[in-house]
Amino acid sequence: MAMKILNALVTGLAQGSMIALVALGYTMVYGILKLINFAHSEVFMMGAFIGFFAITALGGKEAPFLAGVGGTLAAMAFAGLLGMLVERIAYAPLRTRGKGKANTRITPLVTALGMSVLLQNLAQLLFTAQYRGYPQLLPIEDTRKVIFISAFSVMVALQLLVHRTWMGKAMRALSVNIEAARLMGIRTSRVISITFITGSVLAALGAVLYCLDQSQVYPTMGVVIGTRAFVAAVIGGIGNIPGAMLGGLLIGIIGEMTKLTAYSGLQDVLVFTALIAVLLVKPTGLLGKASIEKV
């Protein structure tokens, strides 16, 4: 029994760190813009598609190392670009034009939903609804190690970026007050773009690892992991980077633990019950502090 729990815990940690990679994108954008970027899950999906095409083009199983690394980098670059485009095309105009009007919180939110639907349908049009499997570049046990290590190092790097660099300082300034940050000479639109790029790049990394390990690629795949990642961000305290990691790990572990019981079909019920329970006790999420530093 103890062995079983330990095994599930290890699987849960790997699963959770992948969810956390996606959750970071939600939480960073929310921290700065107070916007829930629903299109994030679609950037994740697009990243998975580009990763698939790049890995196949680079030789797949014949050259696992080159294809793996090259494919991941291609997916990350593309997703970063896509994330920035989504922000520039859909959100930025609303922000500048809607300034001072009453519905500034709702319009970007609905636009984000619209972007999500648009990207999903675009993928269906371009790539069809067919399920495609990644070639197996690594044995599954090794993929999981790679997931855990890369997720962990990314989180450390992100923490350093936010707390040790000028860009990070600018991000934190924006999260406190965009207008004040602009007055201090921060180029806000550039900082926002970089935030979107960072989040999207991490999502693409998560997407490629996710598909190498367990999933197939298809246009609605973003919804599955996107919902969980969003819940993870909220449980951890949306806007808070270590919170997203904690939330992701928690959800991964809860998920794996339910699978050991007879109620495995109720996994999502338990995940959302955990969310409600956390929010009832601590409305700002586990690590969220009301109106203190949010990035």
Binding site: T11, I89, G133, S215, L260, S264
Partner: protein, 404 residues
């Protein structure tokens, strides 16, 4: 950098190109429908038989609809080459229900009231067959669904028939194969709890296996969007079942097979249902699934003469192996034409009676008799995955009479 106007123009351009793409895809569908609808071989003097077919030719389940249509087309060509039914050629009106329930209702109504068809073929999915079946039954037009396996579909009323087996029979036959043919008593079950097909099959299998003397040592259910199966597989492996029944769609089976192999469970420990029947499974997990069995309607190398005739005709025309859906579409049309030939009159009611009386019809998917509940009484094929190919293994059915 683009200015604000520049961005507006970009969005407009993007939107326009998206619209253009959408327009292209709809345009592509229309000529197809026309080409299929108008049969050039129809002589002008003889009034052709009007048969309606409603299928998912676009939308989420395009592939299923398109494959079924190929089968129907083959059957129509075959019957018209032989001079039609009772000397009159057959003309099929194809309608695309866009994989959408609302659209299904409209299209079936159109076929019945506008085109005045004498019989209907379709749909692929149980959900849309139910909708079409209700309309057809109300207007007293016989309908044959090729691949709707949910038991409820034919319970709609006396005008709804099917040429495939039901989920109930499939689950029971799966149990019969595992317990009787393979002689395995310690069985595991893995299924998707929020999927009617998967959980239905699992329930039928469980009951039947217990009755036959098998013991279900472990049972795990997951939600159908699940992708990480390691914990489930570890649980199942530790219970040491001899075989695991996994009535799951092929898209979930790919990650299961890969992760099971990593956990030390070979593909040959799995037995599945007709949801596995897809090329994708062979492409993405062919090696991992080596030796696995599943219950199906059909196998490319099944040793029945009619199946081989169909296979040859299909390969000649479409240059690849047919799927189960194509062969079922072919059989649904063939069975209908056979009944039309036997019917005492040309009315939908007379055709309905003839379909209901069908006994030992020799189709591509086996010998089909229509039972009093309007379901197909036919054999089930066991397919084995061998060298990344679906190969015929055996035929199971408790009714010896239906064997080919």
């Amino acid at each position: 950098m683009l200015g604000r106007r520049g961005w507006v123009m970009t969005i407009v351009a993007l939107g326009a190109s998206a619209l253009g793409l959408a327009a292209c895809s709809t345009q592509k569908d229309t000529p197809q429908k026309d080409a299929a609808g108008k049969d050039p071989s129809v002589p002008a003097v003889v009034e052709p038989w009007k048969v309606g077919a409603y299928l998912s030719l676009s939308g989420a389940e395009t592939q299923f609809g398109a494959e079924t249509k190929e089968g129907i087309e083959l059957a129509v060509d075959a019957v018209n080459k032989k001079g039609g039914v009772k000397g009159r050629p057959v003309k099929v009106f194809y309608e695309d229900d866009k994989s959408n329930p609302q659209e299904t209702n409209n299209k079936v109504l159109q076929l019945i009231t506008r085109d005045k068809v004498v019989a209907l073929l379709g749909e692929v999915a149980s959900s849309r067959s139910t909708i079409g079946g209700i309309v057809a039954n109300k207007h007293k037009v016989p309908m044959i669904t090729s691949s709707a396996t949910a038991p409820e579909v034919t319970q709609i009323g006396p005008f709804v028939f099917r040429v495939c087996f039901t989920d109930d029979t499939q689950g029971q036959m799966g149990a019969e194969f595992v317990v009787k043919t393979m002689g395995k008593k310690r069985i595991g079950i893995l299924y998707a709890s929020d999927d009617v097909y998967s959980s239905g099959l699992a329930a039928q299998f469980r009951d039947a296996a217990k009755k036959l003397g098998g013991e279900v040592v472990v049972e795990k259910s997951f939600i159908k969007t699940e992708t990480n199966f390691t914990t489930y597989i570890n649980e199942i492996r530790d219970a040491k079942p001899e075989l695991v029944y996994a009535p799951i769609y092929y898209n979930a089976m790919v990650p299961i097979a890969r992760q099971a192999k990593a956990a030390g469970m070979p593909g040959s420990t799995f037995v599945g249902g007709d949801g596995w029947d897809a090329e994708t499974l062979l492409q993405d997990a062919g090696e991992e699934m080596e030796g696995a069995y599943f219950t199906n309607h059909y196998a490319p190398d099944v040793p029945w003469p009619n199946a081989q005739l169909f296979l040859k005709a299909y390969k000649e025309r479409f240059k690849r192996d047919p799927s189960s859906l194509s062969s079922l579409g072919y059989d649904s049309a063939q069975l209908l034409f056979d009944a039309m030939g036997r019917a005492k009159g040309d009315t939908p009611e007379a055709i309905r009676d003839a379909i209901a009386e069908t006994k030992s019809f020799a189709g591509a998917t086996g010998t089909i008799s229509i039972d009093p509940n309007r379901n197909a009484d036919k054999s089930i094929v066991i397919v084995q995955i061998k060298n990344k190919k679906f190969t015929y293994f055996a035929t199971v059915n408790d009714k010896a009479a239906a064997k080919p």
